[in-house]
């Protein structure tokens, strides 16, 4: 049996036909018809069937198939199954990767654009200088000039943070493409406070801009985990904290430990998490109801990825309403509450 599976755009997904036979696929319009093969001149039966957005073509020289169109039509079944499996595979494997690639490129272009503009603002003249030494001299001149030192310092700090965000975006993409990569299995003992600060430094300016007062408990406790991936999880949580915190509120970061586990707790006043949200917040693609209402929702990968990473590191992540404070605020139609996010990681 010869077959050919095509996608909705007419592209061949899978086939065992030779190039000479492909023309037959295009010519065939019915489910079963007898033909004289244009390649080897033998008598054959061919047919094409639409299966949702795919097309399945088969061709047989089996005598039973030639004798009975009904018998021939039954031969479509395994190929229909195959194309359906292919679609499932594509939906489960390829589509997320493709969506992630699209998101990655979008975010990288966004970060890149800001950095290019920051640099061009100060160093535009270097494009007029074709000599490397002259370019270097110009950069030195700008760096040693006192006129714009404040703006320059801010620009350089922004560039540094953006480069770390580039790394974070790539790491997130890598984890979607290859969730169990060997590169994310470098478990070691780390100072949780130090690791947290490494990620937090990217967001200090954003919290400042929103007037969110952050207090970080200066406690050095150790836990055993993969630094790179846990940093990605923490960054996702902080990213959400920046987006969803109430302006001019307080964010308190605390560290604690039990016999076996070390934890980071983030107490904040942020967009209300509904009861419905609680059951789905760690599901890929899910965004909180209030976040959607306020049109500040993201792609719904942050919490899902954070949970995936922390679980891989044999830890746990949880969200709860802080009922002790039970503050409810309505600001411009947005509901805010005291929420507590907690990451726990094994100590050994």
């Amino acid at each position: 049996m010869k077959f050919c599976l095509k996608d909705k755009n007419g592209l061949v997904l899978l086939t065992n036909l030779s190039n000479d036979c492909i023309k037959c696929v295009n010519d065939c319009t019915v489910e079963a018809e007898k033909i004289s093969c244009p390649v080897d001149k033998k008598s054959k039966r061919r047919g094409i069937k639409q299966v949702k957005e795919n097309r399945v073509y088969i061709c047989s020289n089996n005598s039973n198939d030639l004798a009975s169109p009904k018998t021939f039509r039954k031969k479509f079944e395994p190929y229909i199954q195959l194309v359906q499996n292919f679609n499932t595979f594509r939906d489960q494997m390829v589509a997320p990767v493709s969506a992630s690639s699209k998101r990655l490129v979008h975010n990288l272009v966004d970060l890149n654009a800001k950095t290019i503009q920051d640099l061009d603002y100060f160093f535009l003249k270097i494009y007029e200088l074709n000599n490397y030494k002259d370019q270097l001299e110009h950069v030195k001149k700008v760096l040693t000039s006192n006129e714009e030192v404040d703006d320059l310092a801010e620009a350089l700090l922004n560039i540094l943070k953006r480069e770390k965000l580039v790394k974070f975006e790539i790491a997130t993409h890598n984890k979607i493409v290859n969730p169990t990569s060997r590169f994310d299995k470098n478990k070691s003992k780390h100072n949780l406070h130090k690791v947290f600060l490494n990620s937090f430094s990217l967001f200090s300016k954003s919290f400042d801009e929103f007037g969110v007062k952050v207090t970080i408990q200066p406690v050095a406790i150790e836990a055993f985990f993969d630094y790179q991936s846990v940093s990605v999880a923490i960054t996702h949580l902080l990213n959400n904290a920046v987006k969803y915190s109430l302006e001019n509120s307080e964010l308190s970061i605390n560290f604690s430990e039990t016999k076996d586990m070390a934890s980071i707790t983030m107490n904040m006043i942020s967009l209300r998490i509904s009861d419905n949200d609680y059951s789905q917040l760690f599901t890929e693609g899910y965004s909180g109801e209030e976040a959607i209402k306020a049109k500040v929702n993201g792609d719904g990968i942050g919490m899902w990825m954070a949970k995936f990473i922390i679980t891989k590191n044999k830890g746990s992540i949880s969200i709860r309403r802080d009922d002790n404070k039970s503050l409810k605020k309505n600001v411009d139609g947005r509901l805010y509450e005291n929420n507590v996010f907690e990451i726990s990681l094994p100590k050994y």
Partner: protein, 181 residues
């Protein structure tokens, strides 16, 4: 000088509350008049121990990067006291003295292993080094994460090329601490 002070305390059996105050005063006087001065002007005739023992060990810990491109992390490590860090663009023999002496090797997956004709470049080189020197710590680093090769399970760690300085140094520190003890 410190020994003299403690002997004085012992000799006079200073244990009472007044003694604690006195002890504090002695400590303050010692710090103010002797310790700070000692830092700026060593007393004549004193044997000066230039570098503490731990620092010497750290500076002698041999770290080798095999990478065809310059890698700034090497300069950062050197600046942080890992003075025996070195980069080779490639190696032509597994008997290379730098390889034999290295405590920890960082190997880039791309662009190396060519002199020894490894078709899989850094992966082949890392595999050969790990087979010849099983106890050496070998870390592969790469710009890609989509790599499937048996050597990934042979080497001690796999690291993203854009890893923080913290990650590179933490690995070295962890191995150094193990080897030291």
């Amino acid at each position: 000088m410190a020994e003299k002070i403690f002997k004085f305390i012992q000799d006079n059996q200073i244990l009472s509350g007044t003694g604690v105050v006195f002890l504090g005063a002695v400590g303050w006087a010692y710090k103010t008049f002797f310790f700070d001065k000692k830092n700026s002007e060593p007393e004549p005739g004193l044997e000066v121990k230039a570098v503490p023992q731990i620092q010497l060990e750290k500076s002698q810990y041999k770290i080798l990067f095999i990478d065809d491109q310059p890698f700034k992390i090497i300069d950062i490590l050197r600046r942080n006291g890992w003075n025996s860090v070195k980069r080779l663009k490639d190696i032509s023999s597994l008997e290379d003295i730098d390889v034999k002496e290295a405590d920890v090797l960082f190997i880039d997956i791309n662009g190396v292993g060519k002199l020894l004709n490894f078709t899989d470049e850094g992966k082949g080189l890392a595999k050969a080094i790990k087979e010849k020197f099983p106890t050496k710590r070998v870390i592969l680093y790469s710009a890609e994460s989509q790599i499937f090769h048996p050597v990934l399970n042979m080497v001690d760690k796999c690291l993203y090329k854009n890893a923080d300085q913290y990650e590179f140094e933490k690995i070295i520190e962890d191995y150094f601490e193990k080897d030291k003890s």
